[in-house]
């Protein structure tokens, strides 16, 4: 049993030493290697107990009758590769094989392994293990089954112009997608394995001469310190490494768009790519990163800036419109012009519920519709939208439960909340309006003001991996406003955001050199 207790410890040590995939050089001669090939196989198979998809395939070489065993997990290897890259060469070999030629003949991916503790892990990573009569070593070939889907455009982050590629559930393809966009030798990829049982592979990607080393170190530190049995989803990692878990705001950007990731990497940020997940996280981020969409950079800059304005404006609308409405109709109706006040009054006249309840009812209804339609097939989803939006909306007014002004308010709010090009941020905003509504219903404008103060102060004291979250507003960096409130023309953006302290703050060359040289 000692055999199987060790590896766990070793993996843990691996993690602590921040060494990831290349752990084969670790010393492992703590046990006596079994003498025969059958013993060897038995030992290797033992941790898998009796799983039936772990297959052993025996090959007898025609030339010298030597027996070779192939070991692989049936369900996660591509048998075609095994056939082509291992079995075919073996059969073709008529000569006596020695180790040297064995390595020569078989696949490019062949690796000689001497560390038997790793065998279990290799098997799980879709390797085929080859055991020969030499008990001191074995060989591994990566034979993953390709079951990937296409690089389709992510459903939740569509753009009008620009790349329509999206990440998929395969880490190497995802890294490839990023590399495709950043063909720089300075692009560094570091792999980590998280989860004692799940061995989820996470790749940390950054541009070496841009990303601030202290951030890189911080991310590495936090990643390696995760000690959980299972790290299944990016969400798990996010929650384990973010600065303030109790904050409603997302502290890392999740995206499925390689172009968005690449652009952020070039600003000196760090990307975390996860195996079996199309979501890539970007750290460190600030609030305004969530309001940038790849589309902005492909439209003309004036239009792009206009969209930015609309999005940031929508932040306020989405958070505060219902609470403003509540505050006005239940405390300060003096502020609305007299022509409108009569109109509002007549619409509110026969509503039996207080405005707060009215608003809560409608907001929750909207959330219900959203939640229902997210899970459903598009076709049924649109039915739900029609039923929810039109039928409920119309009849709830007719029934006199909610005023039609409230419907307008809630509808505008709902639209505003979904304008944010990040699902996490949109969720945060939708959640935040409830406390604001409560405050407005108790203290009117004053309550709203106090809530906003707390909200903004929270943003001021929030950090994402040591960088202020609400930059470039607090702390104020004038030059960074070019890509937050505005989207200045491409040739104006010669400096990277100061907030994330990139090593190189500005690029060396003028973008419109032809123009200035004249």
């Amino acid at each position: 049993m000692t055999f199987f207790k060790k590896p766990k410890k070793l993996i843990k040590e691996n993690d602590q030493n921040k060494v990831s995939d290349t752990s084969c050089e670790l010393e492992s001669n703590v046990y006596e290697p079994p003498q025969t090939i059958e013993d060897l196989l038995k030992k290797v198979r033992e941790p898998f107990s009796s799983t039936e998809d772990l297959r052993t395939h025996w090959v007898e070489l025609a030339s010298d009758k030597r027996k070779i065993a192939l070991l692989f997990i049936d369900s996660i290897v591509d048998k075609q590769i095994i056939q082509q890259q291992i079995l075919n060469p073996l059969f073709e070999m008529s000569k006596e094989i020695d180790t040297i030629s064995f390595e020569k003949v078989i696949s490019l991916d062949l690796k000689k392994q001497t560390d038997f503790t790793k065998s279990q892990e290799l098997l799980l990573l879709s390797n085929t293990l080859i055991f020969t009569d030499d008990p001191s070593c074995y060989y591994s070939v990566v034979t993953p089954e390709k079951v990937d889907r296409d690089f389709t455009e992510p459903e939740n982050e569509k753009v009008i112009r620009g790349s329509h590629e999206g990440f998929i559930e395969n880490i190497s393809s995802n890294v490839a997608l990023i590399r495709k966009r950043l063909k720089s030798p300075k692009l560094l990829v570091k792999y980590f394995k998280l989860g004692k049982e799940t061995h989820t592979v996470v790749a940390m990607i950054y541009v070496e001469n841009l990303a601030n080393p202290s951030h890189v170190k911080e991310v590495e530190k936090r990643l390696t310190s995760i000690e959980a049995d299972a790290v299944m989803t990016p969400g798990n990692v996010e929650e384990s490494i973010e600065d303030k878990p109790f904050s409603p705001f997302p502290q890392m950007l999740s995206t499925e768009r390689p172009d968005r990731v690449a652009a952020n990497l070039m600003e000196g940020r760090i990307a975390l790519v996860y195996d079996s997940s199309p979501t890539v996280n970007v750290v460190p981020v600030d609030f305004f990163v969530f309001y940038q969409s790849p589309d902005d950079y492909n439209t003309r800059w004036i239009l792009g800036s206009f969209f930015r304005f609309i999005r940031l404006f929508s932040f306020f609308i989405a958070i505060s419109l219902p609470s403003f409405y509540i505050a006005i109709v239940s405390f300060h109706f003096e502020v609305i012009p007299s022509a409108l006040v009569l109109l509002m009054k007549s619409s509110l006249e026969n509503i039996p519920y207080p405005p707060l309840f009215e608003a809560m009812l409608m907001e929750l209804t909207i959330e219900l519709i959203r939640e229902a339609s997210v899970r459903l097939h598009t076709k049924i989803g649109s039915t739900i939208a029609i039923v929810g939006g039109l039928v409920i909306g119309d009849s709830i007014v007719k029934a006199g439960l909610v005023s039609n002004l409230m419907i307008i308010v809630v509808a505008v709010t709902a639209i505003a909340a979904y304008i944010v090009p990040s699902n996490e941020m949109s969720g945060a905003i939708r959640l935040l309006r409830f406390p604001l509504m409560l405050a407005a219903a108790t203290l009117g404008f004053l309550g709203i003001v106090f809530c906003f103060m707390i909200l903004f102060f929270h943003l001021c004291r929030l950090y994402s991996f040591g960088t202020p979250y609400f930059a470039p507003i607090a702390p104020f960096h004038f030059s960074d406003l070019k890509d937050t409130f505005f989207r200045m023309p491409f040739w104006k953006m010669n400096t990277r955001p100061k907030n994330i302290r990139p090593i190189k703050e500005s690029q060396d060359n003028q973008t419109r050199k032809w123009d200035t040289d004249e």
Partner: protein, 374 residues
């Protein structure tokens, strides 16, 4: 500790009720108010509350509910009203406040105090003086009010259009407040006359101190507004009789629209303490009606200018005379004396001095256009 504080803070919100809540759906909004004195000195408040009757198709009809009570003070009568009305009465959206002529001739500030004191009152409501009783104006069913808008809106709109045509100066409850307290300046308010099914803005009611002193009606009111130094309003226009004995009476008249009005206002105190004031108006006008035509001729034009200047100067002098008789100083001669000749101001009693000062005016008309025909 941070979290504890947060919990404490949240619980504060949850524990607290909504003390100051005043739901819009549970208030009756006053759109117009009228104040009169009864013969025994009691104050009668009349308010109009528009009640929207929602119709299915989205069209809405407004029904005016009129309430009226009396009390010893303005506030007391309001409180009584509140008890009469089913929901909470709220004057924060009041549009017009009307005083009866008799009432205005007594101290108007005594009734206005409640409006200045109440933090919720609407200070931008228009003020007006009416011939007869204010309650009549508020409660009469006028032709226009029955259709779609309430009394308050109707009254505000007619005052507003009178302001635009420069027949009344622009004032509201707040804007007369500094003048009420100013010993060196008075003010004027629109003067309403209720007819059978309309209300006319006949002219202006002039105040001397806190009390109404008289009226200026008809086309003279425009000259008055010009004299206050109003630069120009949307349709500041007047018709003047400039000739005599033409064939057709209509040929005696010319209508002008004032494009630009510049006032030069000088107050002098001579060495022996004599105060004199002079207003010099330079107005640029466009002729909008002149049936005699031939304005292409420079001579005719100059003559018309001269005639207009003469007639308007005469009118202005007449108005100033009237004002001095009423002892009303809406142009702020006293204020000028106080600001620039403080020692003199301290010596005299302005209300006695004002009718005696030498106060003159001259109007200089320049025609800058005459429509699309000569």
């Amino acid at each position: 500790m941070n979290q504890k504080g947060l919990i404490l803070f949240c619980s504060l919100f949850l524990l607290s009720g909504c003390w100051d809540q005043s739901l819009l759906s549970e208030t009756k909004l006053i759109s117009a108010g009228g104040i009169d004195y009864e013969n025994d000195g009691k104050v009668i408040s009349t308010v109009a509350v528009p009640q929207a009757i929602a119709a299915e198709s989205g069209e809405e009809n407004v029904a005016n509910q009129i309430f009226s009570t009396s009390g010893f003070t303005a506030r007391q009568s309001r409180l009584k009203l509140d008890r009469e009305v089913s929901e909470r009465l709220d004057a924060s959206k009041n549009l017009v406040l009307v005083f009866g002529e008799k009432t205005a001739k007594k101290d108007i500030y005594l009734l206005l105090d409640v409006f200045y004191r109440d933090p919720k009152s609407s200070l931008n409501a228009k003020l007006a003086i009416t011939k007869g009783k204010a309650s009549d104006v508020i409660s009469t069913k006028f032709e226009e009010t029955t259709s779609s808008i309430g009394v308050g809106e109707y009254l505000r709109d007619i005052i507003r259009s009178a302001e635009e045509s420069a027949t009344v100066p622009e004032e509201n409850i707040q804007s007369i407040c500094p003048l009420l307290f100013d010993p060196g300046q008075d003010f004027a308010l629109p003067y309403l006359v209720p007819r059978k099914d309309v209300v006319d803005v006949e002219g202006i009611a002039l105040f001397s101190g806190h009390k109404m002193a008289g009226t200026i009606t008809g086309p003279d009111a425009v000259i008055y507004v010009l004299l206050t130094g109003e630069k120009s309003t949307i349709s500041m226009a007047t018709t003047k009789k400039i000739l005599k004995g033409q064939k057709e009476n209509i040929l005696n008249y010319a209508s002008i629209k004032i494009k630009k009005n510049k006032r030069d206002f000088k107050v002098n105190v001579s060495s022996d303490g004599k105060i004199s004031a002079h207003i010099d108006l330079k107005t640029k006008v466009v002729v909008t009606e002149y049936p005699s035509d031939k304005l292409g001729d420079e001579k005719v034009l100059k003559k018309l200018e001269k005639n207009l200047s003469r007639v308007m100067t005469k009118d202005a002098t007449k108005i100033i005379k009237q004002l001095q008789e009423m002892n009303s100083d809406p142009f702020g001669v006293g204020r000028k004396v106080m600001a620039f000749h403080y020692p003199t101001w301290k010596k005299i009693k302005w209300s006695e001095e004002y009718p005696k000062i030498n106060f003159t005016a001259s109007v200089d008309v320049e025609i800058i256009g005459h429509g699309i025909i000569e």
